[in-house]
């Protein structure tokens, strides 16, 4: 493994501010607080604007996947802004470590930084595979537990928010509650509590109850839309041109499958690899244990949401696996892999039959698991209304929104037909 220099050293924990790209807003906000507890100073980047894309285009190979271009452009823009002390700033980027190009983001970022004259800025690799171990950034056991709790609660908050806000009577109430929960959870973790299963179960139940209490009007004509896609594009407003806001403006209820599923998908792939090609039984046992642990947390979440009787809970992971097997195979594990395909199937079964598949320009796995599987999904379910939307530096918002509007027009027609059927 080539060492990426300069390394983020132990000493830098005290001195440096780590800038990280934002993605799933709610989850990331809590995660950042967890990192702060551990003594890191972390800031989520939210700078946007055309100069972000411009800088990405300038310093990253233009045929590179769009998320890389955006994230790197955003970081360069932040460094250029003059807000940060360049002697005391580091950057963090995730590294998935699969057969997809995304594993190379850190290298692309390094190259871009060197070209742009920031060769002194260290980069922290956020990965769970032990890549770049020599770094002063360590993921500790405690951090991991808190982080996973943050994901589970964050996913739940996102789910509840999406299901309540289109119907809220008093505008802004849902967001207020989300913010309050982000604060509460962060505070708990800081105190060193809130991440055992028992505590989480309690929190989740309370969360669901509080969201149920928001005054709503379910008679509004709302179209239910699911979003899947490359992980960054799926969540990050910078990537998808504020897709969730646009859909909200078009009276849609959005369902975005959570991050926990992606984590489980990662674990499942380790198991699958050994099943398909052989490998260490010990490793298999460890991964199996981790998976079961995560599934228990997932169950807490599903139970809490299902108990309300009012909200649609996320699909259980074992069910997602079955969906994947119906359409593709679990061996397709690069990028979002089979998970993306399975999520489309799941969403349709949950009643979110209008699905937007966000695809960044140059995304190779998407050719397979996104566009490549739509035909089969339609074979299995004639009425599912899937639209792939391409995102790249040149694609105009007008074009994207026009295509989404078409999907919504068909969705509205289906909704009216459904209503007639109901009567």
């Amino acid at each position: 493994m080539h060492i990426i220099e300069p390394v983020f050293t132990r000493e830098m924990r005290e001195t440096h501010t780590i800038l990280a790209p934002s993605m799933a807003k709610i989850q990331f906000r809590i995660l950042v607080e967890v990192l702060k507890d551990e003594g890191y100073t972390v800031k989520l980047l939210e700078n946007e604007g055309p100069q972000v894309v411009r800088k990405g285009l300038k310093y990253v190979h233009n045929d590179t996947c769009y998320p890389a271009l955006l994230v790197i452009g955003q970081m360069l823009d932040a460094l250029d802004s003059g807000i940060y002390d360049l002697e005391r700033t580091a950057l963090a980027i995730t590294q998935t470590g699969g057969g997809c190009r995304a594993s190379n983001y850190i290298h692309l970022l390094r190259k871009a930084l060197d070209k742009a004259g920031y060769s002194n800025i260290p980069i922290v690799s956020l990965n769970l595979k032990g890549m770049h171990r020599n770094s002063g950034f360590r993921i500790t056991y405690k951090m991991l537990r808190k982080g996973i709790a943050a994901l589970v609660c964050g996913d739940t908050l996102m789910l509840l928010k999406n299901q309540v806000s289109p119907y809220e009577v008093h505008h802004g109430k849902t967001q207020e509650l989300v913010d309050s929960w982000v604060r509460q959870l962060s505070e708990q973790y800081r105190r060193g509590s809130g991440y055992t299963q028992r505590e989480m179960a309690k929190d989740l139940r309370r969360m669901v109850a509080e969201f149920s209490a928001i005054e709503t009007d379910y008679n509004r004509p709302v179209v239910k839309v699911g979003i899947v896609g490359e992980i960054y594009m799926k969540y990050a407003p910078l990537g998808n041109n504020h897709l969730e806001d646009f859909l909200a403006s078009q009276s849609c209820e959005v369902m975005v499958p959570g991050l926990l599923g992606f984590l489980l998908y990662g674990l499942q792939n380790q198991l699958e690899d050994i099943d398909l090609y052989g490998g260490s039984r010990i490793r298999y046992a460890i991964m199996g244990y981790l998976k079961r642990h995560m599934i228990r947390l997932e169950t807490l979440m599903i139970d809490a949401v299902a108990r309300s009787g009012r909200f649609t809970p996320p699909v259980a992971f074992h069910r997602t696996i079955e969906s994947a097997k119906e359409v593709i195979s679990l061996g397709c594990k690069m990028g979002e892999g089979w998970l993306l395909t399975a999520e489309m199937r799941d969403l349709a079964e949950m009643g979110y039959r209008n699905i937007i598949c966000v695809q960044p320009f140059g995304c190779l796995p998407n050719h397979i698991v996104g566009k490549g599987m739509i035909r089969r999904l339609k074979e299995l379910d004639d009425d599912v209304n899937i639209v792939p939307i391409d995102y790249d530096p040149g694609a105009t918002r007008v074009n994207q929104e026009n295509r989404i509007k078409l999907m919504l027009a068909v969705a509205n027609e289906n909704r009216i037909l459904d209503r007639q059927d109901d009567r």
């Binding site: 233009n62 045929d63 057969g99 490998g279 190779l364 397979i368 040149g394």
Partner: protein
Amino acid sequence: MVIGLDVGSTTIKCVVLDEDNRIVFSQYDRHLSQIASQSARLLEHIRTNVLHGQSAKLMISGSAGMGMADRCSLPFIQEVYATRIAARKLTPQADVIIELGGEDAKILFLSHGMEVRMNGSCAGGTGAFIDQMASLLQISADDMDAEAARAEKVYTVASRCGVFAKSDIQPLLNQGARKSDIAASIFQAVVNQTIAGLAQGRAIKGNIVYLGGPLTFMSQLRSAFDETLHTTGICPANSLFYVALGAAFCATSTIDIAEAVDHLRKHKIEDSVVSMAPLFEDEVAYRAFTERHERARVPTGTITENTSCIYLGIDAGSTTVKTVAIDDNGAIVDTTYQSNSGNPVPIVRSVLERIYREHPDICIRGSAVTGYGEDIIRSAFGIDEGLVETVAHFTAAKHFMGEVEFVIDIGGQDIKCFQIHNGAVDNIYLNEACSSGCGSFLQTFAQALGYPVETFAKLGLFARHPVDLGSRCTVFMNSSVKQAQKEGSPMEDISAGLSISVVKNALYKVIRATSPENLGRHIVVQGGTFHNDAVLRAFEQELDTEVVRPTIAGLMGAYGAALHAKKHSKGESQIINAKALAEFEHTVKVATCRLCTNTCRLTINTFSNGKRYLSGNRCERPVTNRVANDELNIFAWKLAQLDALGCYIHDQVPEDAIGIPLGLNMYELVYFWKAFFETLGKKIVVSPLSNRKLYLSGQATIPSDTACFPAKLMHGHIQALIDAGVKTIFYPCMTYNMDEHLGDNHFNCPIVAYYPKVIGANMEQVASVDFIDCHVGLHRRGDFPKKMAKNLEPYLGKLDAKLVLKASDAAYTAHANYLQRMREAGKRIIDTARIEGKQIIILAGRPYHVDPEVGHGIDKLLGAFNVAVLSEDAISHLVEKFPVHVLNQWTYHSRLYAAAKAIADQDDMQLVQLVSFGCGVDAITSDETRDILEAAGKMYTQIKIDEITNLGAVRIRFRSLLSAIEQQEKPHAHH
């Protein structure tokens, strides 16, 4: 009454219906981007002349109507949806609607599960595309239809993007192909694009309805669709107005039209267009700038009786023909600059005629030609020297700046730039895949916006707030410009923005420069586009440096050729004399070459001097009548090996034979699988090498048209196997490749890894056979036999474990043997080349580049330059794993890095990287490979390939590379 208003990308269509849904008014107009004011005018007209004060319902639709309706709070309906509403009412028998518009292409499947397909962010195959092609042919779109009716043959033209098509068409024009044939080829390209890009696996059958402008106005386009789809579609009455009609049918709310008109007139301009710094602060700054550039000039003179000896340089470019004559002192005595009109021959002829006429005593001492039309002009007029463009431009640039380090030439359709290292051309950047940084781009926009290009560019000089239009494909830029217009940016700002975009595209897309230091401090800019002061200024601004623009910036190629002619003059030129010129004749004939199975379509130009010039040939055989010497070509060796496998299908396929599609990774792994299955007692057959026909046979089932070409070919290979009667197809998924210990991991790219799943999900034909697409891990040899036995059990029954083990051993051995033989063949080629003193070129790519349809015979083309040709895998084993600056985790790509490393210290070896369009991984590998080579002081040459078969640009690269090597060798010789 009901009004349906359809505001499309280029036109406004409107209908007014009475209570019985009868059309009482309809109108079709181009809106020239004045959508709000045009809509207001139209509605006002309807209000006074049609409604006579009555109230009416209104519904707006169309791609450009959305934002407008939003801002004026008018009801809007998505246009495809409107089409469907109209079709249900007016043509209920329709099964499929094909609608082409200005910038959109759509297919609506109405029966058996409604489905709508629209073109994505790509405008290939739309009206805009046809318009662009018509202007390239210099005929109107209507004439194009008439021309197409007279066509005799159809050429292959890529239609995914106007740029690709242009690069296919321009050489055809230059080579003298008939306009009618080209017109028909363009229509066929549109058909192919629509089917490939939109149908995506769904068969277009049943009653077909054609809608939209191009299909309404062009009968030949309809016939092309009919022919390809084996059907006869109908173009119903009001085919232009379906969207407007659909909108009208959906209208529910009654609108106060007067108020709506008022809203539209006040249509506020949203401030969402991003602006940039102005090009010039004031007139003073501009004057200083022009004065500085005026200084870069060459002495000029006239042809007089005393100085009637001249040297003639001709630059037969893709869009223009330029000539420069210099006298013995190097003064320029004659220049011409003319638009190419598709055929450079008559232009050069008229130039020569004029020179001979005006100066009967002229003595031409030397002549040289460069550019796309080099070969044809040379044959036609007996020009002494031919030189590659890059060398011509360098020769000229050196004249203005002895220490020049970087030359950038932006012409009509090409960007050529190169660095100078040690007095030789190095690091050539050409724009094969994109023309958005070029002059024709500005010209197209100027024309579209109604200005001559000179006036248009000047507009931008003092623009206060140039709009930021981004730096990508022309097609995308089209919509950015539209958006800027929609939002009311003045033409000055758009003009300046476009000039800046040209520069950015050139810098960041083609050259990929990040700072002037990368390019060198001494930069000469040239090409007609730099005559445009706005572009020149934007270039200086973007790089934050001052550059030299010669006053003859547009003539530099021709000037360089003239200098070259002078340098190589042998006293008198062989150029055609006045008498022979008077009798000059040029005939063009079309024929099919029968010398091999490629059956290339040849265009044969015959000239009165008896010389012939052929084009359309992929090899030199029809020219030299000799089979190319394949001894020093490892690609030929590989093809011969595949042939020797004996798995191609010749006659009846045995019932239990297993078919393997010969695509992607199979070119290499077929040896493995053959040994494996044959040990199990199964016969293996493979699909044939790819060709155009094979590609088209699977085209309709491709779900993602932006995937790489080698992947898309896979559909054709599967189809070929099924057509041959194969009952079992083996095409496994392979996350991992073999571990060759050159990288940190040994993945395949996602496409190679999982394409079998795409085939299974999108080709309904595979349901009729046993399609084995199991996941296979060759990287774990110990586990492989057991896992494989399990994989195959559902198809072949329970297999004997010992037999599978034996088969597995045989397979791994066969694989190792193949690699070894291939490496030995490579070694032999290297040895022979060294004995014969030949250069060795590593044509580095992937195993599938051996396929002639993927590699476009580039290996053969190289061979014709008298060099040895190797592939990356023939030398990648020569180095150990070494650190690179990227995550080195794909087996095939590790070979690339290794190959680059392996030749780093070999003086007689060069590497040329083949990159497939759409290959995301190569965005990473190409930069890294370049870095490895450049760190060793080597040149990096990249060739981007796709469906296109235009080898002109490839030839330029090779020739420049070879002439650079030649020049680099010379200094050594003197030591």
